[in-house]
């Protein structure tokens, strides 16, 4: 009897202790960054894959603008120059500097994964922009913000199948740098998208390495071989611009689709507004979302954030291009 009471007391004590522990841990959930403070000064390191691509410059511009609006934020941008070795060492430099948050657009996924792990191990939250490393958001890195290359290209494919070539015909694709992740995803996405219309044939696909001069040469050759090409899907705006020159040179009226929807006089939005291209599909930078998330972590002492933020594409067509031009 005595022992029974004793065990009951013990059990009650244990349970009380356990529930206290649970309550305690829930109460004291640690902020992602301990040094967070409303009026603190913070350094955000951004490891960019390759400044030479206009889209990435556009990301840098948007990030810089968004970071400027937060008084305590200093943004440092390092250019990986399209080289995983350089980018890895730059991430390591940011870790040495102990930046407060690391933003990264890895040039390639697997090669940058160990560097991201080192940052996480050093207690630096990592927000991945536009491209992911290997692993799961929330565990191997803090969060991913970006668009979905495959889906965006698939949208372009569906648009081709339903709006541009409802009665079928010949289409062609200009691919980015072969064997780079976004090039492969956009190529596959577009092909998947046009499958909905069996009367569309993709008669040519060539790599133009994201650049306009190669795109012009490649598309000119395509038009020689296949004079009946009605639609060209270019995996970025730059190549679409090159393809337009080739189409004009050949005196052909080809419906051109770009990708990225870059602003400015050389960008896709203006080209669609002028009627030079049929459409372009924006690839959202996620810059604003990334700075917002940084604010939550560093200023509001967030204990958790959304681990995946997918920013949707906007189809820019003749209907909305003029409106969006000023933005």
């Amino acid at each position: 009897m005595r022992t029974k009471t004793g065990s009951r007391v013990l059990r009650a004590a244990l349970m009380a202790g356990a529930s206290l522990c649970i309550a305690g841990s829930a109460y004291a959930a640690e902020p992602l960054v301990k040094a967070c403070a409303k009026d603190g000064q913070f350094v955000i390191g951004f490891s960019q894959a390759n400044n030479a691509e206009p889209y990435r410059q556009h990301v840098n511009d948007e990030l810089t603008a968004a970071a400027k609006e937060v008084p305590g934020f200093t943004l440092q941008i390092a250019d990986g120059a399209g080289n995983v070795n350089t980018q890895t060492s730059q991430v390591d430099n940011f870790i040495t500097q102990k930046v407060d948050i690391l933003l990264i657009s890895p040039f390639e996924a697997a090669p940058l994964t160990p560097a991201v792990k080192r940052a996480m191990d050093a207690g630096i939250p990592v927000i991945e922009l536009d491209r992911k490393t290997v692993g799961d958001p929330g565990k191997d890195y803090t969060a991913f913000i970006g668009g979905d290359n495959f889906k965006i290209a698939q949208e372009a494919g569906k648009y081709t199948a339903s709006k541009l070539l409802p009665d079928g015909g010949e289409a062609a694709v200009l691919e980015g740098l072969p064997s780079s992740t976004p090039a492969v995803e956009r190529l596959n996405g577009f092909k998947e998208g046009v499958k909905g219309n069996s009367k569309i044939q993709i008669v040519a696909e060539q790599a133009a390495d994201w650049v306009p001069d190669k795109a012009q040469t490649a598309f000119a050759a395509m038009l020689q071989a296949h004079p009946d090409i009605k639609v060209l899907y270019a995996s970025n705006d730059m190549m679409a611009a090159g393809a337009l020159l080739a189409a004009k040179g050949a005196g052909k009226d080809v419906k051109i689709i770009g990708t990225d929807g870059l602003p400015g006089p050389a960008g896709g939005i203006e080209a669609v507004a002028k009627g030079d291209w049929a459409a372009t599909f924006t690839y959202p930078t996620g810059a604003k979302e990334a700075i917002d998330m940084s604010k939550k972590i560093l200023l509001d002492c967030a204990t958790s954030v959304d681990t995946t933020v997918t920013v949707d594409t906007t189809a820019i067509t003749a209907e909305n291009a003029k409106q969006l031009m000023g933005k």
């Binding site: 080289n83 070795n85 064997s179």
Partner: protein, 351 residues
């Protein structure tokens, strides 16, 4: 740490080739990259950001980062030193690195080969690639510039074919389609997490190359061919053999760098190593090796390689733009070349 290794290598090197007289400028040029490395290191310490009084530039992690980042281009630059001493050039190295990383990845992942056969095959492929380039260049008396430019295109093309236009991720484990986990050691650090394995490969390769260049008959032949090809031929040096061999060495070095690349980054892509040929040539020239051939040192190349890495590091630690980094590198290359030209003129060898 790296400085120590260099001084070890220096002691292995015999005295400088005999000159007519001791010219202080010549001595400066001979050790220009070491001097440059010391200057960059001093600058690094002075301008380094500090945290709680700690100089970030000298943080062991930071030093490890510098020497890791330069190990691939360093391995290539060592091979390139042989070629440039013979007054040649090899533009195919970065592309052969890409080809090697793709072949390494695809042999292990889709081919099901083991680690040792893969590494041996890739090294053999690099050597063969170099031998073919060297043979074409000597047999048809073509400029190595043009032959290796073609080699660059060929290697990138082959890499795209082998990879089927895809990037190849290397996953580890036992069984088919997986690479043995030991291969991932190339991306790690040894000795209490301080020394990157990639750097160890670089230093070992540098030490062997230094011995070969400075103490063997082959090494003397390399200098002889670059110094005066006709004189070398008359005195019985197998000039063609030597020339073919140095391209085999760059091919071999690029293959090693490609394997290191694949192991470090768990990845093979036809785009790997783009532009490495130019970084390697810059490191060799800064290291005091003359593009006219006949003169140069391995120690200089190693110091030049590390100097470029340290410079990039200190500029980024201070958040200085990549543009400035390129301008600084440009200035150093010009300075190194001008110093060499001054020495040649003083010795009456102006060409």
């Amino acid at each position: 740490m790296s400085d120590q290794k260099i001084s070890v290598a220096t002691s292995l090197a015999p005295a400088a080739p005999q000159k007519h007289r001791v010219d202080p400028l010549a001595i400066i040029v001979r050790f220009q990259s070491l001097i440059g490395l010391v200057l960059v290191a001093i600058g690094g310490v002075i301008f380094s950001p500090r945290r709680h009084g700690e100089i970030l530039f000298l943080n062991p992690d930071n030093i490890a980062n510098i020497v890791r980042a330069v190990s691939e281009t360093g391995i290539i630059a060592i091979g390139m030193t042989f070629v440039i001493i013979t007054a040649g050039i090899d533009l195919s190295v970065g592309a052969v690195l890409g080809l090697s990383s793709v072949v390494t990845a695809s042999m292990m992942i889709s081919g099901g080969f083991g680690l040792i056969p893969t590494i041996l095959a890739v090294l053999a492929m690099g050597i063969v690639f170099g031998v073919v380039q060297g043979t074409i260049s000597t047999r048809f008396r073509l400029e190595p510039f043009i032959v290796t430019l073609a080699g660059l295109q060929a290697a990138r093309g082959l890499a795209l074919i082998v990879s089927g236009n895809q990037y190849i991720n290397i996953s580890y484990g036992d069984g088919p389609g997986l690479a043995p986990p030991v291969f991932a050691v190339l991306g790690e650090r040894l000795f209490d997490n301080t020394v990157p394995v990639a750097t160890i490969v670089f230093i070992i390769f540098a030490a062997i190359a230094t011995i070969v260049l400075n103490t063997t008959r082959f090494g003397r032949y390399v200098y002889a061919v670059g110094g005066n090809e006709r004189a070398a031929r008359i005195s019985g040096v197998p000039v063609s053999m030597v020339k073919i061999s140095v391209y085999a060495i760059t091919g071999f070095a690029s293959a090693i760098a490609g394997i290191v690349h694949a192991g470090q980054f768990n990845f093979g892509s036809a785009n790997d190593g783009m532009g490495y040929e130019l970084t390697a040539i810059a490191a060799v020239v800064i290291g005091g090796t003359s593009l006219f051939g006949g003169a140069g040192s391995m120690v200089g190349t190693v110091a030049g390689t590390i100097m470029l890495g340290a410079l990039a590091n200190i500029l980024q630690l201070n958040n200085i733009t990549p543009a400035t980094q390129l301008l600084a590198t440009a200035a150093i290359i010009v300075l190194a070349a001008v110093l060499q030209s001054l020495v040649r003129r003083r010795e009456g060898l102006g060409r």
